[in-house]
Amino acid sequence: MSGGALLEVGGLAGGYGPLRVLHGVDFAVPAGRIAALVGGNGAGKTTTMAMLAGLLAPSAGTIRYKGEAVDSWSPAQRVAAGLVLVPEGRLVFPDMTVEENLRLGAIGRQARPHTAEGLETVYGRFPRLAERRRQAAGTLSGGEQQMLALGRGLMSRPHLLLLDEPSLGLAPVMVDLIFDAIGDLAGAGMTILLSEQNVGLSLELAERAYVLENGAIALSGSGRDLLGNAEVQRAYLGL
């Protein structure tokens, strides 16, 4: 593990059939910190996340997690090792109850014995989910579904949480609530890779930040550096 990085990505390339989206992406996520992956629509953030979770096979590059190459691991093996995705668009199971969704987060062999304590933790953090535990997930509001997606991810007992657009389409109050939760998790030592269009908020939180443009890293630095960067301010912060 070089320099205490939990995740190291090198030369990641690929896309969907003939469409090449990523052209060699390099970045690292330091252990116990938040790293941000920012960029405009269609830059390839979700594609990167899908490759990290094992949902999409890259055509080139390596992904090292805890010092091990995980390129050939199935999504289930990655989840079992603590590499857990909270996907863009939530992707909850709409006809299942809130509690069934959470139980599914702990469906892997490693996490399943800890289902009860996991539920307690998640309900403690998001009391609204506890009130709605028997409600079908598809009937929750967007913000509640995001809480559920985050809670489901936590049920997997992650070491590295991949958060893809957790604030997308949420009202400001909800955005605050979700970002508070992310800050708390990081404070408790969780490693997080955060992909966001809400560039300002994520750069404030991030120890390391990367700007993805047209399938490659265009800029990188500490979150603070990038916040002060004139190009970032112009392109992403509307300053």
Partner: protein, 295 residues
């Protein structure tokens, strides 16, 4: 008119309905988890019927035991097909719509092969046998023991499977895979294992039901196709991938068929079933054409 009120007819309808429900459950499980359109499903019923026939004729094995052998045989056939053929397709990067369309053609071929091999081995002439044929009287109603066994087994197994889906971890995974394939992979469900299990269970149920069907119906290499059609009607009626709904829909189709035939004529049996099929497709085309989003 009087016959319509008889308990005899109602019991007959329930027996047929429960058999339809169980046969369709296997098809629905495979369609729901993998989007494979198994039009050879009825041929597993046929294999189960022959298993019962030969075990009884050659070794005097009761259909109650033979159905377990038939389930195992059909399940093994399922395992061979899953691991030999479909696993690789499902693991590849093809869009699920293409896999679905291809599966129809592949299973069509499999169906033809199974039917012709059976005809080659056992001739095409229909067979029947007499087992469990003592009449049991329950109040006004008298039914053959074999049909009572069929009712009990089909209802019992359907209920057991619904409970299993509801309360076990594997059942939860199956329901999750039916609802959202990508989300299932994200939460770390071992999709390959769930698929293999569903495939084998779906085949085994058809084989097992086939033995029960073969005790009371004519057995021939080509007896399966009507059951394929019935199973499709049932799962479209109950909702594709909706397993509990399909069991209820099996009952509904059993009632429609039994009372429809009683009101008209036995010759109209297929007309009734295809009629329901067409009617459902006209009234609820979303049943077949517009399924839940599949990403």
């Amino acid at each position: 008119m009087e016959i319509l009120l008889s308990g005899q007819l109602l019991v007959a309808a329930l027996i047929i309905g429960s058999i339809y429900g169980l046969v369709a459950l296997g098809l629905n499980l495979i369609y729901g988890t993998m989007r494979l359109l198994n039009i050879a499903h009825g041929d597993l019923v046929m294999i189960g019927a022959y298993t019962g026939y030969w075990l009884f004729t050659l070794a005097a094995v009761s259909p109650v035991l033979a159905m377990l052998a038939a389930g195992a045989l059909a399940g093994l056939t399922g395992a061979a097909l899953y691991f030999g053929l479909f696993r690789r397709q499902l693991a590849g990067s093809q869009p699920i719509e293409r896999i679905e369309a291809n599966s129809l053609l592949i299973f069509f071929g499999i169906s033809i092969v199974i039917q012709n091999l059976t005809a080659l081995a056992f001739t095409a002439s229909p067979r029947t046998y007499q087992a469990l044929d003592t009449l049991v009287r329950i109040g006004e109603v008298s039914i053959a023991q074999s049909r009572l066994v069929a009712l009990a087994v089909c209802l019992g197994l359907s209920a057991a499977i619904v409970l299993f889906l509801r309360f076990s971890a594997l059942g939860l995974s199956i329901r999750a895979l039916i609802q959202h394939r990508t989300a299932s992979r994200i939460v770390g469900i071992d999709v390959d294992r769930v698929q293999a299990f569903s495939f084998v269970l779906g085949f085994a149920l058809a084989g097992l039901a086939g033995t029960l069907i073969g005790v009371t119906e004519q057995i021939s290499p080509f007896m399966g196709f009507p059951f394929t059609i019935v199973a499709f009607v049932v799962i479209i009626l109950g909702g594709l991938g909706n397993l509990a709904g399909g069991i209820a829909a099996g009952m509904v189709l059993g009632l429609i068929e039994t009372y429809g035939v009683a009101l008209t004529s036995a010759n109209l049996r297929s007309v009734l079933i295809y009629g329901v099929f067409i009617l459902v497709l006209v009234l609820r085309p979303e049943g077949l054409l517009q399924r839940r989003r599949l990403t």
